[in-house]
């Protein structure tokens, strides 16, 4: 795994410190937006594990984001909040099981076919969600209560409070980064990176590549489910767009814009893309046009994304 250079590491650390201190000086209004961005960063990092490290370009990663979100909705009763420590593992397990089932089918294909079948699966879930009354149909369903983090009477944080939610989102982003960092430098991680480089040779050396791709797919799916769970908790709603190809495309765009094959790239991409969308959509109702032009320019001028730009600026 390419390790960022020293100056880039310092820059990232400074960014993290800024996020840590932001609630002290920043406007509270921005806490929600930043929390949203950090959850998108978790989602994007999980996709980058597939796209940038294993070389599996998925357009259907929303399937697991959606399962995480819908799981929270189903586990939250209308009477009161669900317990975080009970429902989060269930939601993650649901996303992981979905990833096993979908992975067993889609990982038999590769290249363009892989892109198409992953898209097909999330579209299936999209239309399934639209058609099912118990899932809220096309309007989706409300989650009236954010999950409570009570642990034997002790409540370490309260997701109802925007500040607490912000801390949790920051911890999730940092935790996902560290988890993937550790996984990528392990024996498993070396295999994953070699799959992108030359899967056939890996098999001829004695590695059964399929099961490594499947485990990778499941880890990525579970992390996407984590992002989906907290995103639905934040908005208090789930709807079929959680599975939609627009979101799948957006998160892929975040990964590409930020820089595939690095862990900080998706984080930088999430901040860049969401903040830009946010400011453009405030400035003009025709914001999609400059947005599109920006994305085209970014892809043309920054082949290795923002992360690549930082490394170049250093050199």
């Amino acid at each position: 795994m390419p390790v960022p250079s020293r100056s880039v590491r310092l820059l990232l650390l400074a960014g993290f410190a800024t996020l840590l201190l932001f609630p002290l000086f920043g406007e509270r209004f921005y806490l929600q937006l930043l929390a949203h961005i950090m959850l998108m960063a978790v989602f994007a990092m999980s996709l980058d594990l597939l796209v940038g490290f294993a070389g599996l370009v998925s357009l259907g990663h929303t399937a697991f984001f959606g399962v995480g979100g819908y799981a929270l909705m189903l586990l939250t009763s209308s009477a009161g909040p669900a317990n975080l420590w009970l429902t989060l593992p269930v939601a993650l397990a649901a996303a992981a099981v979905a990833a096993v089932i979908i992975g067993l089918l889609v990982l038999r294909s590769s290249g363009v076919y892989f892109i198409m079948v992953t898209l097909a699966f999330t579209q299936m879930l999209y239309y399934f969600a639209i058609g099912q009354k118990w899932l809220g149909g096309s309007d989706g369903a409300y989650i009236n209560f954010k999950p409570r983090a009570a642990l034997f009477g002790f409540v370490p944080f309260d997701l109802q409070k925007p500040l607490h939610f912000y801390w949790v989102a920051l911890a999730l982003m940092a935790g996902t980064y560290l988890l993937l960092f550790v996984i990528l430098r392990s024996l498993f991680g070396r295999v994953v990176c070699a799959i992108r480089s030359n899967e056939g040779r890996l098999a001829s050396l004695g590695i059964p590549t399929f099961r490594y791709k499947l485990v990778c797919f499941v880890i990525a799916g579970a992390l996407a489910g984590l992002a989906g769970y907290f995103a639905s908790a934040q908005y208090g709603v789930v709807n079929p767009d959680f599975f939609g190809w627009r979101l799948a495309g957006e998160v892929l765009m975040i990964v590409i814009l930020g820089g595939m094959g690095t862990l900080h790239g998706p984080i930088l991409g999430a901040f860049a893309l969401v903040l830009l969308e946010d400011s453009l959509s405030v400035a003009s109702k025709h914001w999609l046009l400059p947005m599109g032009l920006f994305i085209i320019a970014a892809v043309l001028l920054l082949p290795k994304g923002i992360a690549g730009l930082l490394e170049r600026a250093r050199a």
Binding site: V182, I183, R185, S186, L187, F188, G189, R190, V191, C193, A194, S197, N198, G200, R201, L202, A203, S204, L205, G206, I207, P208, T209, Y212, V215
Partner: protein
Amino acid sequence: MPEPTLVVERLSRWFGGLAAVAEVSLDLYPGEIHAVIGPNGAGKTTLVNLLSGELRPSGGSIRYEGRELAGLPPHRIARLGIARSYQRTNVFRDVTAFENCRLAAQARLASSMRFFRPAHAYRAPAEAAERALEAVGLDGASRIADTLSHGEQRQLEIAMTLATGPKVLFLDEPLAGMAAEESARMVSLIVRLAQHHAVLLIEHDMEAVFSIAHRLTVMVNGRVIASGAPEAIRASTEVQEAYLGGAEPHA
């Protein structure tokens, strides 16, 4: 007489109506260099692809230490102690030469489903990689594979097969495109390897083949037309005719 390590019987592979490999039988003893030669399109590389599991045989058997290999996937065959090199360099281009060999050695660990301990903390694969690089005499272990010269990449190709700690080596044209000096070094390496491995050698360089092979098998149009000691093959009129109407064998 020792038992053969590998026994191939009537191995065939059809592509539509074309028999790329037709009822090929050969065997391989420990410590032996058995060369397979033949003109372009004779089916030599297809034969290696069948033996290493990259292609499924249409018929016939491959027995290795009493076990049937035909139909097994490549990773299973590799794990039994059979390693192959490729005619066209087939390495992990974006990582160092060392990492290429370390990955090859890692492939022999019981499992790579290890998620937390850093890969560099495992000593055995790193040591095997260093030994393999030293054996082929490749300097520049820390260079990215893509930046190595053609000859160095060929050396890396062989080093990777060695790093897996195999008993049997299938070398598919290890000398292809090498300069004379590199080629001589590779030839002496293959001779040294044969002391501890059974080597099936596919090679175009006839001078090298006849100087180091203990036995030769000659393939033409997917079939074996002759098999035996180098002197016998050199004297065979059938073999000479197969090569451009009686010219000196080249491939």
